[in-house]
């Protein structure tokens, strides 16, 4: 419904995200955090994406939930407990609702609006996006987080409309409870949705008829609840697990058997297959190296899987029909089931092999095949999706120079890095064709691509670029590379949805990038390091400026006044809170940041989130030897140190009598000795290029703080140390300053508990507001500042 009269005025924003699944939620979160005005548009009435729509019985993920969940926030990761190895749809959906609430994402979304059209206006470098409700949006950048398996495919079967019974689609399952009791049910399709739902439907229905076109390999999930012991181990191993996953082949820590299938004897091989089979699901496809490359190795895996099927299914003829014969194992997505093959041993379950007797029509009473007729009360379509491209091409997208998405992709999807399409500036796909997407853990692939894209958009903002577009030749070359990579494997031998083979008339192109998630990440990072090689970056005069970051210092020209481009900075206590805000701002302003902290878990996670410009080094600031190591490593890796921010500090409020002598020493060690050790450690390297040291003190170091005597003393001391260092180091080109924050809302201080009503600005400061001052002093904008205190306290000491 698109009425011209009452079309509302378009809402405008910098970044418009389509979709509220894993990718869309994270895209909105990152975009908002980067300071862009952001709107999400979602067809469903709530969040969840794929996990909103696919509510059929037995729906669950085939990647272990501890991997198939966000990695960007350590606290989120630690606070959520997955009840079983492979969570069911309700649990995954609840997780996404939790994420949406935790990060306040819902308010950015417009639900119940299906995007139907998008048109790029070259004059203003902006997209106009229209929804089926008549709502319109204008955005500089358009991110399509529309999912890989989200455009359901409904086969065109004659008479489909004549059926008098109930019709259900796995991909559009009703919210209310569906009862099969006493019913004769037919399920069309034996992909993942069919294979997961069939055992459950069979339990309840009077009879079940399964209409199978192509048999698929399925491996039991061996799903089970996670024990308390496992939960503890998972949490302990999480950072390492995520670190491994980030550069893995498929976004999970799993590796193939360490030796080749033909390097070991029959017994060892059987044991390896058996062990991998017991791990459950799709992983079986990667038991041995080369299993989807070398047909002989693949044959061994097929034989093993076939024997498993035949050992379960008692009727030999049924087993014959269930054993896939048309594709190497793993070249179609291996399904992950719970009791699938066992179901066919039931007397009330019938398998119809459509290769032998194709469906000729659907009638009022059931399904007719070439040789038989099946009376049914309910038909369930588990017929798959127009995968990877369907959700994009169903939108009428008009790009620059008259290009339309239909024509652009007429011969199959052409993309650069799976994220950008030539002819469609400022439009990006997440998990699009040409990216690892469905061949890897899509939560991590979404995080990686969104991080990269938001960094790109932020770089555009910084450089005044209003339009970024992939070059046609670069996209052609990338698409060719994607195809070549696939053709080095057995994957193209299968008529899979990876190839578009499940949709009549769709181009047969292997769509996902099979070169591995880690490799792909490195390629993306390289493209960024090379200034976005393969893209055209355009500046148009007269286009509307984007909203800038809400916190970083800005000018009317919409660019930060201060730049840290080319600078290498060490920040202590940077894993969380104030230091993390500094690290994030520094990266945004172009610095390379070494995050240091004793909190390794959060530090690593933050470095991962901030991308290639950030890295983490464990550091206890009271340990002089540790300081030397960090300085030596930083100098070796980055060749210089321009900035040191001594941010690490501890806070405690208690009457003096309550402190032990060790506690007193401990506070001075961290708050005063630490920064002094740091200044001493970096000075030799820093004096080569000149540099800036910023010590984060406190207003308690200016006026005293009864009840926090040790803290205030340490901060008074730090101001003295800074001024002295400023005098000592000025001849060596090193500036030293103190930033003295007042009450700031960070995890260290419960600002909400304080009464600030008498402060001139009666509120707590934000970590970003302090970080802005730190960044100013770190930058060349503060070139004439040294040996001084800079108070940022909302007027508290005025």
């Amino acid at each position: 419904m698109n009425t011209s009269d009452d079309t509302p005025r378009p809402e405008t924003c910098d970044v418009l995200v389509v979709g509220a699944g894993f990718a869309g939620l994270y895209a909105v979160h990152r975009s908002v955090a980067a300071g862009f005005t952001t709107i999400g548009v979602e067809a469903a009435p709530g969040v969840g994406g794929t996990w909103y729509w696919n509510r059929y019985p037995g729906a669950r993920c085939d990647v272990e939930s501890i991997d198939y969940s966000y990695s960007f926030d350590a606290e989120l990761q630690d606070s959520w407990v997955w009840s079983e190895r492979y969570a069911t749809q309700p649990e995954i959906h609840a997780y996404l609702e939790h994420v949406a609430d935790r990060f306040g994402l819902r308010r950015h979304f417009r639900f119940g609006r299906r995007v139907e059209g998008a048109r790029f206006d070259e004059g203003s470098s902006a997209w106009t996006v229209t929804a089926d409700t008549g709502h319109a949006y204008r955005a500089r950048f358009l991110v399509l987080a529309t999912g890989s398996l989200s455009a359901p495919h409904r086969p065109d079967i004659p008479g489909a409309g004549d059926f008098a019974g109930e019709v259900l689609f796995t991909a559009r399952w009703p919210h209310e409870n569906v009862s099969f009791a006493g019913k004769r049910v037919g399920v069309i399709g034996t992909g993942s949705s069919g294979i997961q739902s069939i055992p459950i439907i069979a339990e309840e229905a009077a009879s079940l008829t399964v209409f199978q076109r192509s048999p698929n390999y399925s491996v039991p999930a061996f799903n089970r609840p996670l024990t308390e012991e496992e939960q503890v181990r998972i949490r302990a191993e999480y950072p390492e697990r995520r670190r491994k996953s980030a550069y893995s082949g498929a976004g999970t820590p799993h590796e193939t058997y360490p030796r080749g299938a033909f390097e070991i004897d029959e017994a060892e091989r059987r044991a390896a297959f058996e062990a991998r089979w017991r791990e459950g699901g799709v992983l079986f496809g990667k038991t041995f190296p080369n299993q989807t490359v070398d047909e002989a190795v693949n044959r061994l895996a097929r034989d093993f899987a076939e024997a498993k099927i035949r050992a379960i299914v008692t009727d030999r003829r049924v087993a014959d029909d269930l054993v896939p014969v048309d594709h190497p194992i793993g070249t179609k997505r291996i399904c992950t089931d719970s009791g699938y093959y066992e179901t066919f041993n039931r007397a009330d379950v019938t398998l119809v092999n459509l290769r032998r007797e194709p469906i000729t029509a659907i009638t009022e009473r059931g399904i007719r095949t070439a040789t038989g007729s099946y009376e049914l009360d309910t038909i369930v379509y588990a017929t798959g999706f127009d995968a990877m491209t369907g959700a994009v091409t169903q939108i009428d997208i008009r790009g620059a120079r008259g290009s339309g998405i239909g024509e652009a992709w007429a011969n199959g999807p052409v993309t650069y890095l799976g994220m950008a399409i030539p002819g469609f500036p400022n439009l990006f796909t997440v998990n699009g064709p040409g990216s690892p997407s469905v061949l890897a853990n899509m939560v991590l692939t979404a995080e990686q691509q969104v991080d990269w894209l938001i960094d790109l958009i932020a770089d555009c903002r910084r450089r005044g670029v209003t339009e970024v577009e992939a070059r046609a030749d670069a996209a052609a070359k990338w698409t060719e590379h994607v195809s070549e990579a696939a053709h080095r494997t057995l994957f193209p031998l299968a008529g899979s949805w990876y190839m578009g083979a499940n949709i009549e008339g769709k181009s047969r192109i292997f769509m996902p990038y099979i070169g591995g998630f880690g490799n792909y990440r490195r390629i993306c990072d390289q493209v960024r390091a090379d200034g976005y090689e393969g893209f055209v970056l355009t500046e148009r005069k007269g286009t509307e400026a984007m909203t800038g970051p809400t916190s970083a210092v800005r000018t009317t020209a919409d660019r930060p006044v201060i730049s840290l481009a080319g600078k290498v900075a060490i920040i202590t206590g940077a894993a969380r809170g104030q230091g993390a805000a500094e690290a994030e701002l520094f990266v945004r302003l172009g610095a390379t940041v070494v995050i240091t902290d004793t909190n390794e878990r959060d530090g690593t996670a933050l470095a991962g989130r901030l991308g290639p410009s950030a890295s983490f080094r464990p550091l206890d600031v009271t340990d002089g030897a540790a300081w030397s190591r960090v300085v030596a490593e930083t100098a070796a890796v980055h060749g210089r140190i321009d900035v040191l921010v001594n941010n690490a500090g501890v806070w405690r409020k208690a009457p003096l009598e309550e402190w032990t002598e060790d506690e007193l020493r401990g506070m001075f060690d961290v708050n005063l000795l630490g920064p002094i050790l740091g200044m001493r450690a970096v000075a030799p390297t820093m004096s080569v290029t000149g540099g800036s040291i910023v010590n984060v003190a406190s207003t308690a170091g200016i006026r005293g703080h009864g009840g926090a005597l040790p803290y205030a003393s340490s901060k008074w001391g730090l101001r003295g140390a800074s001024r002295s260092a400023a005098q000592e180091y000025a001849p060596r080109g090193i500036r030293v300053n103190c930033v003295c924050p007042g009450v700031v809302d960070t995890p260290m201080i419960d600002a909400a508990a304080l009464d600030l009503s008498r402060q001139p600005m009666p509120r707590a400061g934000t970590a970003e507001e302090i970080a802005n001052m730190v960044a100013f002093l770190a930058s060349d904008a503060g070139a004439y500042c040294t040996g001084a205190d800079f108070v940022v306290d909302g007027g508290a000491t005025a």
Partner: protein
């Protein structure tokens, strides 16, 4: 650099390009002309005619390209200045490029055989360029062109002339120019920008060569007055200049000055489309069979077409 086609081509270009800065002008010209690839797109245009026009400084050779298609609406006229460091190249070196431009922008292209250095010092080339624009404006109708849609265009040193001519027309009360198209233009005889330092060698066009080109054009190190008719960034202001399409390449010593000129135009309110190609090098856009060039040209043609005012003739400023 990821793109092996680019790095491979750069290697070939670097090895094959003569060390022009160690030669005389004539030697360099001959050495570069010997590398020329034959033109394979003669049929892109309906006709190409060589003419000699009269200027204050004497006769000047031009080649006029007429696009295919029936007459009707008067067409835009693009006055084109070839690159080559003010020393090298000629009508032949850019013949294929002009044919493509004429075909895809549906414009009459007038390619100008301006006088080269060191035989003719600055501002001889600029004077020729300006004379050609005045001639094209006066003879537009005769060429099937629209005098209100005169465009100046050039690559490299030709980009300098295309920019300078717009300043001259503004300063000297010349004909109205509808747009300027500056493809990695040569802007400034100072060689210390960040891009000059980063890409001094190894990216085809070198800092040494650029120094040498400028020395040939200037006949030394001094820019003759008015300086901005030779080095266009030196204009006191850039207001009132025609809308601009600027192309820069990431691996080009001239990248920063192209950027600076685009910024100067934008600051003064000149409508601007600045296309920046990271990962590409000086001169890439005129290489006929090179993927990135094909793509960049397609975008350039579209930019030229869309930056021009509609076919309806607009009034010349009083």
């Amino acid at each position: 650099m990821l793109d092996t086609e680019v790095s491979g081509l750069l290697q070939v270009l670097d090895q094959g390009f003569p060390p022009v800065h160690l030669m005389t002008g004539a030697q360099a010209r001959a050495a570069v002309a010997a590398r020329r690839v034959p033109v394979d797109n003669l049929d892109d245009v309906r006709a190409a005619e060589d003419r000699v026009i009269d200027t204050e400084d004497g006769p000047l050779r031009v080649r006029i390209y007429h696009p295919r298609g029936d007459g009707g609406e008067p067409l835009p006229v693009i006055v084109f200045f070839h690159g080559g460091g003010f020393v090298l190249c000629d009508l032949e070196s850019h013949d294929g490029f002009c044919r493509r431009m004429s075909k895809h922008t549906r414009a009459v292209v007038v390619s100008v055989d301006y006088r080269l250095a060191p035989e003719h010092r600055a501002p001889a080339a600029a004077r020729d360029a300006y004379a050609a624009v005045r001639w094209a404006a006066r003879h537009a109708a005769e060429l099937g062109g629209d005098p209100n849609r005169i465009v100046t265009a050039g690559d490299s040193a030709g980009g300098n002339l295309a920019a300078v001519v717009c300043l001259m027309a503004r300063d000297l009360g010349g004909p109205p120019i509808a747009a300027q198209v500056l493809v990695y233009p040569v802007i400034e005889p100072s060689f210390d920008s960040d891009s000059y330092r980063r890409y001094a060698t190894g990216y085809f066009n070198t800092r040494d060569a650029m120094r040498w080109y400028w020395r040939q054009y200037l006949g030394g190190d001094t820019v003759p007055e008015p300086a901005h008719h030779v080095a266009p960034l030196r204009a006191a202001d850039h207001a009132g200049l025609p809308p601009a399409v600027v192309v820069t390449a990431g691996l080009d010593p001239l990248c920063d000055e192209g950027r600076d000129y685009a910024a100067a135009l934008a600051r003064c309110g000149v409508p601007l489309v600045h296309r920046h190609y990271p990962g590409l090098f000086h001169g890439f856009l005129t290489i006929a069979a090179f993927g990135p060039a094909v793509c960049a040209r397609d975008i350039l043609w579209a930019d030229i077409t869309s930056i021009l005012p509609g076919a309806t003739p607009r009034k010349a400023p009083a």
